[in-house]
Symmetry: C2
Subunit: 361 residues, 2 copies
């Protein structure tokens, strides 16, 4: 079993990583006999894992309720949250209830924000079932839903009481989703950990074939990095911004192509290459390191170009809407070496346009 603690004073919490955790009632502590809980999941995950999790919770003596939302990023909205609140109120869940997010980042983000808001905050457990949510979205307390005019625009910083990662559930995850998660894994290597990047160059094939030992190590290491960044900067005023490498470009791709057509990790992969090219054009990153990044992404079955149909100019309006934008100036996370990165303000639009141009097919 791998274990990481996210250190945030009174709100510290454990992340537990192992194959088979869903079958073990003890995985779901701090829940205990007599507690009430609502599992929020979706229509894809419910038939695969809901019964197992419910059985374990019932063995623990928990009064379990569940709701399965429709599957998809387009349901990460305030109005779908409202159906969760209806369920909670109809079944008399009080302030002492616990929400359990059983699913990927969509379910985790929506359930987390629901937990933050229901009666001004109830307990919440993350049970992430995609690689992306295991290494990224379930750790750190960022929760949100989308607005038609922008992704993740409505939300809260809200920490879970624990994170439960059962490695077995990756076996049913579509391969494209696995690769999408690997984009975030590779991101950690680029921004903060050259050793991890090296390790990934040696072990990417083991990860692609779900080798349990490699995967357990990889998820633990990513959670450690994310946890330490979050502990240092819970509300994203400083170092936490580095986690957005590739995301300003990536969000532009996701928004322009319609959410769901490009997976988040795919857009981030292309976005990281664009960020690397931007840094190279600014003279602060080596061409050979751009190539190393691209090679690793390709081995993880990830794109290293933007969508063919999307012109460089089409990125800018989306990028200006980014939360990091200050008064019309682009602020970007850029690598300075493999394992090192910085936030760079006032990046000229034409440099960004050229960098995107380098990433056309």
């Amino acid at each position: 079993m791998e274990r990481v603690t996210v250190i945030l004073g009174e709100r510290s919490y454990p992340i537990t990583i192992e194959a088979g955790l869903f079958n073990d009632p003890a995985s779901f502590l701090p829940l205990q006999s007599g507690d009430k809980a609502l599992i929020v999941t979706n229509s894809t995950i419910a038939p695969l894992y809901l019964d197992t999790v419910v059985k374990s919770l019932e063995k623990l003596g928990v009064n379990v309720d569940s709701v399965a939302l429709p599957d998809g990023e387009q349901y990460k909205t305030l109005s779908v949250m409202d159906t969760v609140f209806s369920r909670l109120l109809e079944n008399n869940h009080g302030r002492d209830t616990t929400l359990i997010a059983l699913g990927g980042g969509v379910i985790g983000d929506l359930t987390g924000f629901s937990a933050a808001s229901y009666q001004r905050g109830v307990r919440f457990i993350q049970v992430p079932t995609t690689l992306l949510s295991q290494v990224d979205s379930s750790v750190g307390g960022k929760t949100a839903v989308n607005h038609p005019l922008g992704k993740n625009m409505i939300g809260a910083f809200y920490q879970p009481a624990s994170v439960v990662i059962d490695l077995n559930c990756l076996k049913t995850l579509p391969k494209r989703e696995l690769s999408s998660g690997l984009a975030e894994v590779i991101k950690y290597g680029i921004i903060l950990d050259a050793d991890l990047f090296d390790w990934l160059e040696d072990n990417i094939d083991a990860l692609m074939s779900l080798d349990e030992k490699a995967m357990g190590y990889c998820i633990r290491r990513c959670c450690e990095i994310k946890a330490s960044v979050v502990a240092a900067d819970e509300h994203e005023n400083g170092v936490r911004a580095l986690l957005n490498l590739g995301h300003t470009f990536g969000h532009a791709i996701e928004a322009e192509m319609g959410y769901g057509n490009w997976l988040h990790g795919e857009a981030v992969a292309a976005g990281m290459v664009m960020a690397a090219e931007t840094a190279r054009l600014l003279g602060s990153f080596e061409q050979t390191d751009v190539e190393r990044i691209k090679r690793l992404l390709v081995r993880a079955n990830l794109p290293v170009h933007g969508p063919e149909s999307m012109k460089p100019e089409a990125y800018i309006p989306h990028m200006l809407r980014d939360k990091k934008t200050l008064a019309g100036k682009l602020r970007l996370v850029l690598p300075t070496a493999i394992g090192q990165s910085e936030v760079k303000g006032g990046v000229a639009h034409d440099v960004v346009l050229s960098a995107i141009g380098c990433c056309l097919i």
Copy 2:
């Protein structure tokens, strides 16, 4: 000028109380030249005060935007919040924007929760225009919207950066709304401050006729009490619960009668009498003090009975849905003397039914 500081470490903030503040740009600090802000108000208040506030902010050099929502408790919903988010996104408000709530408790609660949630939290200034919001809802950081199945069920604890109270705006407030605010004022006297209760017995007529000196003192004293309670217990785990005197009964009345037919303060007034009767039946409160409370409420033009059409049994299901309920047992705030109160768990349903019965006409 009267001034109170709400002491919450880094998130401490000032409450400023004076006639004419809306005309003074300095009232709206910490806003400063170059800042962007969205004023959220409603269709009743906009024609009365929006221009004045906008002019003061423009003098300060603030880039001001505004949105007027429809007026009424029935618009304190997630879907109306969504229109605020649309406005923010359409007009490119970033994380550095400030939301200004110009209105009563409905606008304050909805705007506060919008500020808590927009991009996971932006700055927020309370400009309460009803007595109720000045002495109660604008102080303490509770924000929320309603759900069809329960009032204030969705929200956040989120503190404003400052509270600006212009006494002049009470002149346009309907008299019934003024009385509704006085119910919360009287509540502070009953739960925590016998001197305030005495002072109110001497000065209730001056307050009813909007005597500026009396009103300034009264609001300042109520804000002090609320601020000290909030400072001691921000998240309502202890002493803050006392502020709910009369509210468990009152919420039952509001819910049963349809929100808006009984004003919040009116329902709380009747609810405080019911709480006092409950305490009297339990032998922990004097009959003569029940009478003092009723006399003061009557002088403030407030009801001391529940609605004629509402049977005692009709209260219970609503009361059981209250946030303070634990596992089907009623927990109530009850006075033990004028100026003293307690949270009492496990109150028997039949005592509550008799107490309500004492308050039928």
